[in-house]
Amino acid sequence: MGWIKTKWTSQEADQWTKEDYITFVLSPLVYVLLVLGVAFSLLLLWYGWVILGAGVVLLVIMLRIIDPKLKAISEDYEAKQKKYLEDLEKIARWEE
């Protein structure tokens, strides 16, 4: 998946990019496949196992696409979080 970015700077990860949009499409599709796959598999219908398998494969692909970006966002954001929390408390106490 060479066209999927796996190394992110914090600035790049802050943007909404094609990796996010692909995830928006894959994620609900995985849920639909899991719902149908589990139900049909419990009824021991062969296509249930196929649908369930497709759901798991798509889930793995989705995680490979979005996980590097989420890691980069998290690392960058956690560094700023303490300052943001202090600001939040000031707002709650009407000091800002």
């Binding site: 909404w16 928006f24 849920y31 139900a39 009824l43 021991l44």
Partner: protein, 532 residues
């Protein structure tokens, strides 16, 4: 009536002691600060809030609700239970934005996104509404437990309602969200295991998958195995238009905040996760378990239908899954099953007790009454609020009669008019507090008028719920969109601060350009995004 043997009571007592002890064990952590009492210190790995998402949304009324729609509609009824799929997109969109805001509650987020009097009115309104909504949820979940206990032991409904909610309140009062989350983890594991066990047991009792399908076929009910057995585009009891509406609500709704009533407990779990990544996975993973659980239940209810195909009473077939557990499990397992039901029940009760208390404490007491209150004082206010919610839920619970009609009303109608505004507030910079506030007020009036009052007086005919959704959405937009354009945009300083912190998705170009102009975002960032 079910008769418990010694082993049944043993399972039940051991479980209740373990659960309450487990919650109290975290008493010291819960009382450290308000962030601990309501968010477990914002330091949880993703699988803990994920198990809480799952456990909270597996309540005693859930198998009643799922049994009702699957027995009535067959496997296509699974789509009635697909509303939690809003988390599919939310986990990677609104969850990310909300986690970055660090707001304790959705009400607090309103004052970070909007500014001035409108924002404060919104915060007060949402906090007050959430306090009472949580009391309402506690009531309807509690009375479902009352029904289960009546079914089992012939107790009056109020005993099951009061007894188990009160037991649960012990550890919520002691340890706050720490108690909730730790108990939810064990309750989630127990609940999922028992749901799978009893459902598979039910399928076996019905003769196995092949026998179930053969019986359905001989009854002329094979369509029940087809999840896409539509009755026409807009006709019959399961039209394609309903399905498409559900998909739009469930999936597109993930871009917003508050498009589902489940957003509010999820918001608490999002903020309790230790990183943005953990919050995304907690919401996605917990919901994946929910949709899988629904499928397991659905097949068990199909099995039940193959055994009892002619039940007419809604109240009777809504108890289908419980009937499998209580009438077909071997001796000694009844208590284990009931202990699991208690787990299912109190995980939901605990979450809503703590969630409702967080709005009362953070958004009402601290923000409007005592801004300088110490953490110790705020934790005590949290405990008193928890008690008020508990007692209030008893009264609510005793007023409710039928589970399904309440849930359909809540899922579709209560939020129909604010579904789109809840997305607009996240994705569109120009949408302001007055627009959002007016959508709430308009929705309250319109929902009662169109769903109840006008049909009651014969002014309009009763419409299907999916048509009501679109009508409510259009009518509401005729009020809040003009109002948005007739009032000023939010203060640009406030919007820039929010944008830099939360980096929202959608139409934010003027705010972003202002942030770049002020040197708060690098020009590189703008180049990368292509001036979105």
């Amino acid at each position: 009536m079910v008769v418990f043997k010694f082993l049944d009571w043993f399972w039940l007592v051991v479980y209740i002691i373990t659960m309450v002890f487990c919650g109290i064990l975290f008493y010291r952590l819960g009382k450290r600060s308000m962030a601990d009492f309501f968010l477990a210190g914002r330091g949880l790995p993703w699988w803990l809030p994920a198990s809480s998402v799952y456990a909270t949304h597996t309540a005693t009324d859930t198998p009643i609700w799922v049994s009702g729609v699957i027995y009535k509609y067959g496997l296509r009824g699974i789509w009635y239970t697909f509303f939690p799929a809003w988390c599919a997109i939310s986990a990677f969109a609104s969850t990310r934005i909300f986690r970055r805001s660090l707001a304790y509650t959705q009400a607090e987020w309103q004052t970070l996104r909007f500014s001035g009097l409108g924002a404060e009115l919104l915060r007060g309104w949402i906090a007050g509404w959430q306090f009472f909504l949580n009391m309402f949820v506690l009531g309807w979940v509690g009375i479902a437990m009352g029904k289960v206990c009546h079914y089992l032991f012939k107790w009056p409904d109020w005993i099951g309602l009061v007894l188990f909610s009160s037991l649960c309140a012990i550890y919520v009062l002691a340890a706050g969200y720490w108690g909730v989350i730790m108990a939810d983890f064990q309750q989630g594991v127990i609940a999922f295991s028992v749901i799978a066990l009893v459902s598979i047991w039910g399928i076996v009792v019905a003769g196995g998958p092949q026998t179930i399908m053969t019986k359905l076929s001989s009854l002329g009910q094979s369509w029940r195995l087809n999840p896409f057995a539509f009755t026409g585009f807009a006709s019959g009891d399961f039209p394609l238009a309903w399905f498409l509406t559900m998909l739009v609500i469930a999936i597109v709704g993930g871009f917003g905040m508050g498009t589902s009533i489940d957003w509010y407990p999820e918001a608490q779990r999002i903020q309790s996760a230790r990183t943005v990544r953990d919050s995304s996975y907690s919401i996605w993973g917990g919901t994946a378990l929910i949709v899988i659980r629904n499928s397991i239940w659905a097949v068990a209810i199909l099995a039940f239908f193959s055994l009892y195909p002619h039940i007419q009473s809604t109240a009777e077939y809504e108890m289908a899954w419980y009937k499998f557990g209580f009438e077909f499990l071997p001796v000694g397992m009844l208590g284990f099953f009931f202990a699991a039901i208690v787990a299912i029940h109190i995980s939901t009760i605990a979450s809503h007790l703590n969630l409702g208390a967080s709005y009362a404490t953070r958004d009402l007491y601290q923000h409007y009454l005592r801004p300088k209150a110490s953490d110790k004082e705020l934790i005590w206010v949290g405990r008193i609020s928890t008690l008020i919610l508990l007692v209030g839920s008893f009264f609510y619970g005793l007023m409710m009669k039928e589970i399904t009609s309440w849930l359909i009303f809540a899922l579709w109608i209560m939020l129909a008019g604010i579904w789109l505004p809840s997305i607009l507030q996240v994705v569109w910079w120009r949408f302001n507090s007055w627009g959002y506030l007016s959508s709430w007020i308009a929705n309250l009036g319109l929902s009662w008028l169109i769903c109840w009052i006008l049909p009651e007086f014969g002014v309009i005919r009763s419409l299907p719920d999916y048509q009501l959704f679109w009508i409510m959405m259009v009518l509401g937009s005729l009020i809040y969109l003009p109002l948005t354009f007739l009032t000023k945009p939010e203060n640009m300083d406030h919007l820039v601060k929010y944008y830099v912190m939360s980096r929202p998705l959608g139409w934010w170009k003027p705010v972003k350009e202002e942030a770049v102009r002020r040197g708060l975002l690098s020009l590189d960032a703008q180049r990368i995004e292509g001036g979105n």
